[in-house]
């Protein structure tokens, strides 16, 4: 094992545009994000926030009509992924960066057993010792509480959602990747299965010394497993910092609104408040000014013209004009 | 002006629809080319016999003449202009093709919908009927029929081909219906107590429109091949002016396969068939976008 270390990732000024009939629209607009080595980072956002595009960018796998039009993604031991092409890129995916697709998606081939697919993966990455690969896979599956031999002999339809998700994690890790990206790892899974998968993600992360990125729309999932949390909105990272801090004392009005919109099991039900308006889509992201201003209770004149740049507040980064200024107390009560 | 008129008019999908069709067609030049080709043949079918009133002039001095300005595709064994023959032959081919398509699609869609929507006993009976239709050997049956029937009218031709060809569409429409009827909006329509007529006519059919339209156009091409083939084989008596008859005469009468003289006579109807099929295929490409409001409105 040569690269048995957890790599750090630095995304800088990343811009991804999608070609549409009305011209190229930015899905990501100058995103900056750092994943510290050995941590679990969560990206939360609604549909259209650009979170999945960002995750795909880590593998330089944005599909047409989208393309990375600027910026860089530096991964330790790999260099700038944006500049990788052809075979180098293909080897990096799987070898260094493992990707776990959504549980709901059928990312497994229904016509081949899991074991066959594993061997295909090994061959396409020129693994010399295939029996060792199988052993490693069985060990990983066993670690996740499954009967490795049985699972490798199974077809996709013979596995439950939670089992499929574990197979996905195994396939992402079996080539000894140390950067793992999980896209909506628990969407469409039941509560108890979700809890199991999240526990496994945490344990495997720790035992194998990984750098993990989890993309999800569910703040609860992110809260449960992540060390650091990035909140995305309209193609920007609007707030990023240690998970406990971001959730405990959110500073961006969107983060605040989002947390407030979660119904909870204890406390006053009336405290949960819906966020007004709706998230922007690719076509409705404003060309200038803050992307959140239409729904923002703290909106000021400057928000209409200037897109707030992310500013550091201790360990936290927040992109908002109103943060750091005295809060305008004339704000409607329910948003404070 | 009354109060009700003051309310903003509800959407008028009809007007939007044709504007949308135009928009979809303009998206690709190939589609416009397809429309132009189909329009050209439609024009020939409608006005061909007016342009070349029968009987077509013969020129006894120019049998199997080579292409020239006077005869762009040469002349046939009697010295008749080949272009005139192709143009006047269009009507029969198109009419028979259309009749076939209308009958296949009407029968196929009706039976498929009924079977898929009601399931149960209806389904069993109708699908056995469909299987029966699919097992009828078309060509031998036509050979037998042609001994008693002259097929002078293209509509007769169309009816026979149509009745022999609806099975495939019925099966396809049934399976589409089976999958659509499980969709939320069909279930909701039933839960709201809407009539079966409404559900089938207004909810199911429009969802299948691209599919049906596509099948209809493909049925037209299929029918053209079939009838031209029948005439070419000489199975049917030569009562009508038809591209297939031309092909037959060029090959078996003019020896087009061995001598160059009759070649233009052979190629002209072939070219017409090819061009018409190409036109239809190019138009089929647009069907999905025309009937899907999402793709149409963009």
């Amino acid at each position: 094992m040569t690269e048995s270390f957890a790599p750090g990732v630095r995304v800088q000024d990343l811009t991804v545009v999608y070609r549409t009939p009305v011209g190229e629209l930015p899905a990501l607009a100058g995103v900056g994000l750092t994943l510290a080595p050995g941590t679990i980072t969560g990206i939360v956002g609604e549909s259209g926030s650009g979170k999945s595009t960002l995750a795909l960018s880590l593998l330089n796998a944005v599909q047409p009509p989208g393309r990375i039009s600027g910026g860089s993604v530096e991964i330790d031991g790999l260099g700038d992924v944006v500049r990788l092409t052809g075979d180098d890129l293909r080897r990096a995916r799987g070898r260094q960066v493992g990707y776990v697709f959504q549980a709901a998606q059928n990312s497994l081939n229904p016509l081949k057993t899991v074991g066959k697919q594993l061997l295909d993966l090994g061959r396409s990455h020129d693994v010399a010792d295939l029996p060792a690969l199988l052993r490693e896979a069985r060990a990983l599956l066993g670690r996740m509480g499954l009967d490795g031999g049985r699972v490798l002999d199974s077809y996709q339809h013979e596995l439950s959602g939670g089992m499929r998700q574990r197979v996905g994690i195994m396939l992402a890790l079996v080539l000894n990747a140390h950067l793992v990206v999980l896209d909506e790892p628990t969407t469409a899974l039941d509560m108890i299965t979700q809890a199991t998968i999240l526990r496994i993600v945490k344990e495997v992360h720790r035992e194998r010394g990984l750098t993990t990125l989890i993309v999800t729309h569910d703040i609860g999932v992110a809260a449960e497993v992540t060390d650091s949390l990035a909140v995305m909105y309209g193609g920007r990272v609007v707030e990023h910092g240690p998970t406990m801090d971001v959730l405990g004392s959110p500073r961006h009005p969107y983060t605040r609104g989002l947390i407030r919109a979660i119904p909870r099991l204890s406390g006053d039900i009336g405290e949960a408040t819906a966020l007004p308006g709706r998230p922007p889509t690719l076509g409705t992201i404003p060309a200038e000014g803050c992307v959140f201003r239409e729904r923002c209770p703290l909106r000021m004149a400057v928000c209409d013209t200037v897109d707030p740049a992310p500013a550091a507040y201790g360990e936290r980064t927040v992109a908002c004009h109103a943060v750091g200024r005295p809060v305008n107390l004339a704000v409607r009560k329910e948003y404070v | 002006m009354t109060v009700t008129q003051l309310l903003p008019a509800p959407a008028t999908p009809r007007r939007n629809f044709w504007r949308g069709v135009l928009r979809v067609m303009r998206r690709k030049p190939s589609r416009m080319a397809g429309v132009a080709i189909v329009a050209l043949f439609a024009f020939m079918g409608l006005f061909g016999p007016l342009l070349y009133p029968s009987p077509l002039p013969r020129d006894d001095n120019a049998l199997y003449a080579a292409p020239s300005w006077a005869h762009p595709f040469g002349t046939d064994f009697e010295g008749t202009d080949v272009l005139a023959l192709v143009v006047t032959g269009t009507r029969y081919v198109l009419l028979a093709g259309l009749a076939t398509a209308v009958i296949t699609v009407a029968l196929g869609t009706g039976i498929g919908l009924l079977a898929g929507f009601h399931r149960g006993r209806w389904d069993t009976v109708l699908m056995r009927l469909t299987d029966l239709q699919l097992t009828i050997p078309g060509l031998p049956l036509l050979l037998v029929l042609s001994t008693v029937w002259k097929f002078t009218s293209p509509l007769e031709m169309g009816v026979v081909l149509g009745v022999l060809g609806w099975g495939g569409i019925a099966r396809a429409v049934r399976s589409q219906t089976l999958s659509l009827r499980e969709r939320g909006f069909i279930e909701a329509a039933r839960g709201l107590g809407l009539s079966t007529r409404h559900i089938v006519g207004r909810e199911l059919l429009p969802s299948m429109a691209p599919y049906i339209a596509m099948n209809m156009l493909i049925a037209v091409t299929g029918a053209i091949y079939a009838q031209v083939g029948l005439f070419f084989l000489g199975v049917l008596p030569f009562d009508a002016n038809n591209w297939g008859v031309m092909l037959n005469l060029a090959v078996f009468g003019g020896g087009a396969l061995t001598s160059a003289a009759a070649l233009p006579y052979l190629l002209a109807p072939l070219l017409a068939i090819l061009l018409l099929t190409l036109g239809i295929v190019l138009v089929v490409d647009a069907m999905d976008e025309i009937f899907n409001p999402r793709l149409r409105e963009e």
Binding site: E46, S47, G145, S160, D190, M191, I192, T193, Q194, A195, T196, L198, I219, G220, V221, A223, E224, T243, M244, D245, V246, L247, G248, G257, L258, I259, I262, P263, R264, L265, S266, A272, A274, L275, R278, P279, T281 | L7, P8, A11, P13, G184, F185, E187, A188, A189, G191, L192, G193, L194, R202, E203, P206, S207, A209, F291, N292, P293, R294, E297
Partner: protein, 332 residues
Amino acid sequence: MITGTGVTKTYRQRGNLLGGRDVQALRGVDFAIEKGGAVTFIGESGCGKTTLGRIVAGLETYDSGEIVIDGTPMSGLRHRQRQAHFRRVQLIHQDPYSALNPTRTIHQTLHAPLALRARQKGRSKAWAEERARELLTLVGIDPGYVLPRYPHQLSGGMRQRVVIARALTVDPEVLVADESVSMIDVSLRLGILALLKDLRERLNVSVLFITHDIATARYIGDDGELYVIYRGQVVERGPTEAVISEPVHPYTQALLSAIPVLRGVERPGAERVVPTEALDERHADTGCLFARRCPFRTERCESERPSLEGTVHGHACYHPQPRAVIPVEASA
């Protein structure tokens, strides 16, 4: 008011040559939905909650037992009459994308049931038009904007509101909401839940809420009833707030323990329960259905099946014991 007693449903899986396996989706379920009340069925997927919701909405048949709608038992009725009764119950689908016909504008979608309604009530066409606008306003969207549009031009939240408006065209007594917010953006979910809550108060419709997310159930109706369903059996039932704050069945406790904790805002409960195994439908049906996965099982659990006991807050367990499983506020 709708009541069900001993409702059972078995799916026969016609499988291969070796014969199929029967799946008991519902094993004798009793329930009652009061007028204007809020009832929630929770459980894992495949537990039968969706089947039960569809039976209540008249979209699925049941094998035995009885459903009574406003005093009329359904089993004696002919199909057509039964459908008329079940029209009082409208299902809000999980997926607002497939619940609206993509080829029809919202105006056409709402107009069809309203025109039918107008004919039945002897009202004019103008009434139907007016009513469509009224309903859209009621569910919180601008009729002028929505009516001429196709579903694909609306956001998920708007579509779900249109679906609710369509259900309201027949003046239903019960709205069955089956995972109705799971496919909607997080910031918009609460709006839909608040709408359902609001409809309860303003129109006095009851809401039957089917979900695996207990927190949303609590938001819809803390004054309502919660049914915890496991493999086709109600294992715990009671006032929503009581079941959440003092769950006694280990399965309910496992479900509640599995809810992610909002760290920084909440602390995990002190006695979280984790099942010893994953759900496996092939587990034997003898004894308590949850026994194989239960950390507290005894010999008795494996041989005898407990039935639902208790009047207000009932449970089907031989060893009921309240445990502190739900997350608590961190500041407390």
